[in-house]
C-alpha cells in the first residue's frame, strides 16, 4: 500500500527490474503472466487473438482463471481488457467485424468450436455491463426474464390456464436473486414498478440480480461501478465479495484501488492488447515485476 502511495519508493524498488538478465521479451512476459494457483482453473484461455477488422485488439493472451474467486482486469483504455472479457461468453460474436483465434475453455470444454450452444454458455457465464441496462419492464419481469425465456419458469397464459404455472417458484427466484444482489429490502414492496424508476446504483444491482437469476457459474462484469457514486460503488463491491464464495467473478475496472480491494488476482493489460502481468493481487500491487506495470499502478501513466 505504502509503495503505491509514494512513487519515490516505488521507483527505487523498480530499479533492479530494469536490469536485463539476457531473457527475451517473450520469455519475460511468459514468466510475469505465469500465475500458479491451487485448485482447478474455471476458465482456461490459451493464445487468444482478437481482430476487429484490421485492428489487432488482443495479442496472444494466455491466462487461467481459478474457481470461486474474484479476478480483476486492469489497464488503460483500449488495452483489450473488455475484449478479453467479452471472449469469455462469446459476446464478441455479436460484433460483425470481430475475429477470434485461440482457445477458451470453460471447465475444460472448448468454447470456440462448432456446436457450442450459445444459450447454454451464456446461462452459465452471466454478464453485467458498464452502464445499468434494465429492460423497460417491471422489476419482477426483469429478474424472471432469463428463466422464463429458457423455459425454467413458465407463467404464460396456457400454463396458468392448465394450472401448471410456476408463480411460486418465480416469487422465490425473484426474492433469492434480489437478496443476493442486496436489493431486496429496497424494492420488495414495489416489484411491479418499472425498473427504470430505480436509481442508477439500484439499477446496476438489479442487473446483477438479473444475471444471477439464470444461476450462472461465472459472472463477468465490465466496469460495473464506473457510472455510480461512491456509496453505490461500495455496495457493489461488498456484493462482489459476497458473490465470490459461490461464483467465479471476472471484473474489468479502471479503478486500481477497487481492484486491490476486491480481487484475489489481478491481470494488468497494457496498451497494444497484451497481457503484461498476472498474479496474486497483493503481489501485483506490492511488488510488480515489470517496470511498465509498476509505472501504471503507481500512476505514472494511464
Amino acid at each position: 500500500m505504502s509503495e503505491i502511495e509514494s512513487p519515490q519508493k516505488g521507483a527505487e524498488t523498480a530499479q533492479p527490474r530494469q536490469t536485463t538478465t539476457g531473457e527475451s521479451d517473450e520469455q519475460l512476459r511468459a514468466e510475469w503472466t505465469d500465475y500458479d494457483f491451487d485448485g482447478e482453473a474455471k476458465l482456461a484461455v490459451e493464445d487468444l487473438d482478437v481482430h476487429y477488422g484490421d485492428e489487432h485488439a488482443l495479442k496472444g493472451v494466455s491466462m487461467d482463471i481459478p474457481e470461486r474467486s474474484v479476478t480483476a482486469l486492469i489497464g488503460p483504455s483500449g488495452c483489450g481488457k473488455s475484449t478479453y472479457l467479452r471472449c469469455l461468453n462469446r459476446m464478441n460474436d455479436r460484433i460483425n467485424s470481430a475475429r477470434v483465434d485461440g482457445s477458451v475453455q470453460l471447465d475444460e470444454n472448448e468454447l470456440y468450436q462448432e456446436g457450442v450452444d450459445l444459450v447454454e454458455l451464456r446461462k452459465r457465464v452471466g454478464m453485467v455491463f458498464q452502464s445499468p441496462n434494465p429492460f423497460p419492464k417491471s422489476i419482477r419481469e426483469n429478474i424472471s426474464y432469463g428463466p422464463r425465456k429458457h423455459g425454467t419458469i413458465d407463467t404464460g397464459l396456457l400454463a396458468r390456464l392448465f394450472g401448471r404455472s410456476d408463480e411460486e417458484s418465480e416469487e422465490r427466484l425473484v426474492e433469492r436473486s434480489l437478496r443476493q444482489a442486496a436489493l431486496w429490502d429496497e424494492v420488495k414492496d414495489r416489484l411491479d414498478d418499472n425498473a427504470l424508476g430505480l436509481s442508477g446504483g439500484q439499477q446496476q444491482r438489479l442487473c446483477i440480480a438479473r444475471a444471477l437469476a439464470t444461476d450462472p457459474e461465472v459472472l463477468l462484469m465490465d466496469e460495473p461501478a464506473s457510472a455510480l457514486d461512491p456509496i453505490a460503488t461500495s455496495k457493489i463491491e461488498e456484493l462482489i465479495h459476497e458473490l465470490s464464495r459461490e461464483y467465479t467473478v471476472v471484473i474489468v475496472t479502471h479503478n486500481m484501488q477497487q481492484a486491490e480491494r476486491i480481487s484475489d488476482q489481478t491481470a494488468v493489460f497494457l496498451t497494444g492488447g497484451r497481457l503484461a502481468e498476472y498474479g496474486r493481487t497483493e503481489q501485483i500491487f506490492a511488488d510488480p515485476q515489470s517496470q511498465r506495470v509498476d509505472d501504471y499502478i503507481s500512476g505514472k501513466f494511464g
Binding site: 461468453n89 455491463f129 429492460f135
Partner: protein, 544 residues
C-alpha cells in the same frame, strides 16, 4: 449608449416608454387579428366597427401604430429612452426593408403617378435604396423602427384618404383578367403592417440589442403560431357549423324509435329497436326514407380502414423486423429503404390504377370492398415499414446485449424486448397512415365504386357475411366482394353530381356538409383510438 457605458443589470419594466411599447405591441396584435377577421369576412370592410367605419378605424390604428414606433426609435436615438441598440439592424432586416420599400415605391410610382417602366423602376430602386440605407446606417433603434413605422403610416394614410376604398378593384391587366379586390388587398396590407410594426415595437420593448431581437423573434413566432392554430380551428369549426344541421336532421330519442336490429345467436334471433333514431348515420338513401343518410359510406370507410390495417401492419412490421434485426446493413437494405420511401410518396391514383388493373380482375372482375381494402393496404404498407424500422432502430442496443448475455435467443429478444419498446413508434406510424388512407378518394374511385346516393341495401355486412362451407376454402365472405361506398368518395360524388341529380335528398348542400363532417369525425376517431393505444404502450414502458 456606446460600448464604454454599461447597461444597468436590473431593468425595471414599469417605465412609461416600456408601457408605450407594450401598448404598441398590443395594437399590432389587434391589427393582426382584425386583418385575419377581414380576410375571412368575419368583419365587413364596408360596415362599421365600434362606431367607426371599418376602413377608417384600420387606417387610424395603422397611423397611430406607425407613429408610435417611429417616435420610440427617435426617442431612443436622442437618449430620451434608455435602450441598448447595436450599430445596425442586421442584414436580414436590411434586405426585408429594402424589398418592402422597393415594392412600395414601385407600386406608388406606377399606379398613383401612372409612370411607365422607365419611370417606376428608378423610383422603386430609389425608395428601396433609401429603405436599405435607413435600416443599415443610423443604428439599430432608428433602423428597425423608422422603415417599419413609415410603411404603416403610409398604408394608414392610403386607407384614410380613400385611395384604396372598400370597393376598389386593382386590375392587374393580365390576360386572365386577374384583379385584386379591396376585400383581399386591405386585409393583407393590414396583416403585413401589423407584423412589421409589431416586430419593431417588440424590439423597442426589449430595448433593442440582443434582448430586443429576442423579443422581436418571439413576437413573430407567437403571432405565427397563433395564426396557424386559428386557421386550423376555424377549418374544423367551419365544417362543424355547416355540417351540424344536416347531421342532426330528424334525430329522435325515445323507446322504439330507432331502426329494427336483429342479433342472431346460435339460430335464435333477437329483434329490438334502438332507442335513438339518427337518420343521417343510420340510413342509406331510399325513396321511402323520410330522411336520407350515409350509413353505407360510414360502414364502408370503417371496414376499409380496418381491412387495410389488418393487411398492412403485420406485413410491414414483419418487413421492418427483417430489415433492422436480421438483414445485414448494406446495399440491399439501402435499396429497400429508398424503395419504401418512394412508394410512400407515390400518388394515390397510381395505387388506384394498380388495384384497378391487378386486383379487380382477380376478385370477381367487379369493384369490391376487398379490392379497396388491399389497395389502401398497399398504400399504408410503406409508411408502416418506415416508421416501424425507425422505432426499432431507436431501441437501444443495450437491451439486445443484455438479453443476449442472458442466453436469450434473437427471436425471443425481438418479441419480448425490441417489439414492446418499439410499439409506440409503430402505433404512431399507423395513426399517420390511417389519417391518410381514410381520406383517400382516388384509389376507391377505381377499386370500390359506390355512387352518389347509396341505398341502405349496399351497406357492407362484413361480420354477418361469413359463410362456412363443407368444401375448401371452407369460409367465404361474399360481402367483401360487393361494391360499396366510402365517405371521401361519396363526398366527391355528391359535389361533382351537380344540382340536378340531388332531388331526392331534401337539401343537397346540407347533405354534403354533413357528409364532410362525418368523414372528419370518423378520421378523428381513428386518431383518438390510435393515440389512446400509444399512450397505453408508452405508460407501460416508462415509469411514472
Amino acid at each position: 449608449m456606446s460600448g464604454a457605458t454599461r447597461t444597468r443589470l436590473i431593468r425595471s419594466n414599469t417605465t412609461t416608454a416600456v408601457a408605450v411599447a407594450a401598448i404598441s405591441i398590443g395594437i399590432a396584435a389587434v391589427l393582426f387579428g382584425l386583418g385575419f377577421a377581414a380576410m375571412f369576412e368575419l368583419i365587413a370592410l364596408t360596415g362599421t366597427l365600434v362606431g367607426f367605419p371599418t376602413l377608417t378605424l384600420l387606417g387610424a390604428l395603422l397611423v397611430v401604430q406607425g407613429g408610435a414606433v417611429v417616435t420610440f426609435g427617435l426617442g431612443s436615438r436622442f437618449s430620451v429612452v434608455e435602450t441598448n441598440p447595436r450599430p445596425d439592424a442586421g442584414a436580414v432586416a436590411a434586405v426585408v426593408f429594402a424589398l418592402v420599400w422597393f415594392v412600395g415605391g414601385g407600386i406608388v410610382a406606377s399606379q398613383l403617378f401612372g409612370l411607365g417602366l422607365v419611370g417606376w423602376l428608378p423610383a422603386a430602386l430609389l425608395t428601396g435604396g433609401v429603405g436599405f440605407a435607413v435600416t443599415v446606417l443610423p443604428g439599430e433603434d432608428i433602423g428597425s423602427t423608422a422603415p417599419a413605422g413609415a410603411v404603416a403610416v403610409l398604408t394608414g394614410l392610403v386607407f384614410l384618404s380613400d385611395l384604396v376604398g372598400a370597393q376598389s378593384v386593382w386590375g392587374l391587366g393580365w390576360e386572365q383578367q386577374a384583379s385584386l379586390t379591396a376585400e383581399f388587398m386591405i386585409p393583407v396590407l393590414t396583416v403585413f403592417c401589423a407584423l412589421l410594426t409589431g416586430w419593431a415595437a417588440a424590439k423597442a420593448y426589449g430595448g433593442f440589442g440582443a434582448r430586443g431581437r429576442r423579443a422581436g423573434a418571439y413576437l413573430l413566432i407567437y403571432l405565427n403560431a397563433g395564426a396557424i392554430v386559428t386557421v386550423l380551428f376555424s377549418l374544423v369549426a367551419f365544417t362543424l357549423f355547416k355540417g351540424l344541421p344536416g347531421l342532426f336532421r330528424g334525430v329522435a330519442v325515445g323507446a322504439g324509435v330507432g331502426p329494427q336490429s336483429t342479433i342472431s345467436l346460435f339460430g335464435f334471433g333477437f329483434s329490438f329497436s334502438l332507442p335513438v333514431a339518427w337518420p343521417f348515420v343510420m340510413n342509406g338513401v331510399g325513396l321511402l326514407n323520410e330522411f336520407n343518410g350515409v350509413l353505407p359510406a360510414i360502414v364502408g370507410t370503417f371496414w376499409l380502414v380496418v381491412g387495410a390495417v389488418l393487411f398492412a401492419v403485420p406485413l410491414g412490421v414483419g418487413a421492418a423486423i427483417f430489415l433492422t434485426e436480421y438483414a445485414e446493413r448494406g446495399r440491399f437494405t439501402q435499396v429497400v429503404e429508398v424503395a419504401t420511401n418512394g412508394l410512400w410518396s407515390t400518388p394515390s391514383i397510381v395505387f388506384g390504377l394498380f388495384g384497378f388493373a391487378f386486383l379487380i380482375p382477380r376478385f370477381g372482375n367487379g369493384k369490391s370492398l376487398l379490392s379497396g381494402m388491399l389497395t389502401l393496404g398497399f398504400m399504408l404498407l410503406p409508411l408502416v415499414v418506415i416508421t416501424s424500422r425507425e422505432a426499432m432502430l431507436a431501441v437501444p442496443d443495450e437491451y439486445r446485449d443484455a438479453s443476449a448475455a442472458l442466453g436469450v435467443t434473437k427471436w425471443q429478444t425481438i418479441r419480448s424486448v425490441v417489439l414492446p419498446a418499439a410499439l409506440p413508434g409503430v402505433v404512431t406510424g399507423v395513426i399517420l397512415g390511417v389519417g391518410r388512407i381514410a381520406g383517400e378518394t382516388a384509389p376507391i374511385l377505381l377499386t370500390m365504386a359506390g355512387g352518389v346516393f347509396v341505398p341502405g341495401s349496399q351497406t357492407a355486412n362484413v361480420l354477418g357475411g361469413f359463410q362456412f362451407t363443407a368444401s375448401p376454402p371452407f369460409v367465404a365472405n361474399p360481402q367483401l366482394l360487393e361494391a360499396t361506398s366510402a365517405l371521401p368518395y361519396q363526398l366527391y360524388a355528391l359535389i361533382t353530381a351537380g344540382v340536378g341529380a340531388s332531388g331526392n335528398v331534401g337539401n343537397p348542400d346540407e347533405f354534403r356538409w354533413a357528409t364532410a363532417l362525418v368523414l372528419l369525425a370518423v378520421v378523428l376517431s381513428f386518431y383518438a383510438v390510435g393515440i389512446v393505444t400509444r399512450y397505453y404502450f408508452r405508460r407501460r414502458l416508462n415509469y411514472e
